[in-house]
């Protein structure tokens, strides 16, 4: 399917025509096209967007994790920001997985840049990127036994003994 003019509606239309039910929902917060897709299809959809003759999402701007503990069955999410330089068109793609099995296919096959971004996301949220060549912690110490950005973990340094927590509700 060819797309004449690139805007939120036309891209969404093209996606819906190609993938149909796989586009779980879509939104345009502040004019920024955002779609949600199933985690296991992310590589396929992003590859299609990348290789599409007119959409050409050639640049992976950002990749990060996000945690919604109350969203049962879809606690952990991965958010991709893509950018098409030829059309100057940005879009956001989200996929959610359950906290018990946080497995998402890797994007390293499409973008070299995804390598460290995925490692960082793994480090922070414990998301297993299936097929990642070298999924290790990147920022934290290798000895660390939890994924610190998950909402249930405290921000503060636990070893500090000079603070009186009583007055701060900590």
């Amino acid at each position: 399917m060819s797309v004449q003019e690139i805007n939120n509606a036309s891209v969404l239309e093209a996606l819906a025509a190609e993938f149909g039910e796989l586009i779980i929902n879509s939104d345009e917060p502040y004019g920024f096209l955002t779609i949600e897709i199933p985690a296991e299809k992310n590589t396929a959809i992003i590859q299609w967007l990348m290789e599409h003759p007119t959409i050409k999402m050639n640049f992976l701007t950002d990749l990060c994790g996000v945690h919604f503990p109350d969203n049962k069955g879809k606690e952990i999410g991965v958010v991709y920001h893509l950018h098409s330089w030829t059309n100057n068109f940005r879009m956001r793609i989200k996929c959610f997985v359950a906290a018990a099995t946080p497995e998402v296919p890797t994007l390293t096959t499409l973008f070299d840049a995804a390598n460290w971004m995925e490692r960082e996301t793994f480090d922070f949220y414990g998301i297993q990127f299936v097929g990642h060549p070298d999924l290790r912690r990147i920022l934290n110490m290798d000895e660390m036994d939890y994924h610190p950005l998950l909402k249930q973990y405290a921000l503060e340094d636990e070893t500090r003994d000079d603070k009186d927590d009583r007055f701060f509700g900590r």
Binding site: N140, P148, Y153, L155, T159
Partner: protein, 180 residues
């Protein structure tokens, strides 16, 4: 006005001047502190400004940076030390030759600063002994220079035997630093 080092106290007479070795060497050390800049973040940039022409740490005889810890007298820890970095810092301290002094430049090195987080060491004095703390986030170059001058005062008045004393060894042992 430039402050010039005064002659140490001593016995003066016709054609001779006697003073104790301690004082002379103390003054020599004070005026020849070669820093090892352990610059990790923002304070490191202010340190670069301190080395620059406008502030010129070289006036104090400290412009010769020695990146090899063997040759350094003054470990300047500038910036946040994460827990991952802690062992590295300790080893660098360990490798320095006595006498050695440590400045914790900036809030992060002194106490963890605003980064009261799981990954940041809450002050380098948890792992190595610190002589002078410089507050600020980051401190201005003038403050860094004042920190160095405080170290000069310490160096000037330190006894030659201090580093062999039992108290000193005990202090190092309390940080789990091996003494010879």
């Amino acid at each position: 006005m430039v402050k010039i080092v005064d002659a140490p106290e001593g016995v003066e007479g016709h054609g001779f001047f006697a003073t104790s070795l301690d004082k002379v060497i103390g003054m020599a050390r004070a005026n020849s502190l070669w820093p090892l800049p352990f610059a990790t973040s923002c304070c490191g940039i202010e340190f670069m400004a301190t080395m620059g022409s406008n502030y010129d740490l070289g006036r104090f005889g400290s412009e010769r940076l020695s990146f090899s810890p063997r040759q350094a007298d003054l470990l300047m820890v500038m910036g946040t030390i994460a827990k991952k970095m802690g062992p590295v810092l300790k080893q660098v301290y360990d490798q320095m030759a006595e006498p050695k002094w440590v400045i914790a430049v900036g809030a992060c090195a002194s106490s963890g600063g605003i980064f009261d987080t799981y990954s940041v060491l809450q002050g380098i004095d948890k792992i190595i002994p610190v002589d002078v703390y410089v507050p600020g986030c980051p401190p201005r170059p003038e403050q860094i220079i004042e920190g160095v001058m405080k170290i000069q005062e310490l160096a000037k008045h330190e006894s030659l035997r201090r580093r062999n004393s039992d108290e000193y060894k005990k202090m190092l042992e309390s940080y789990n630093i091996e003494t010879i």
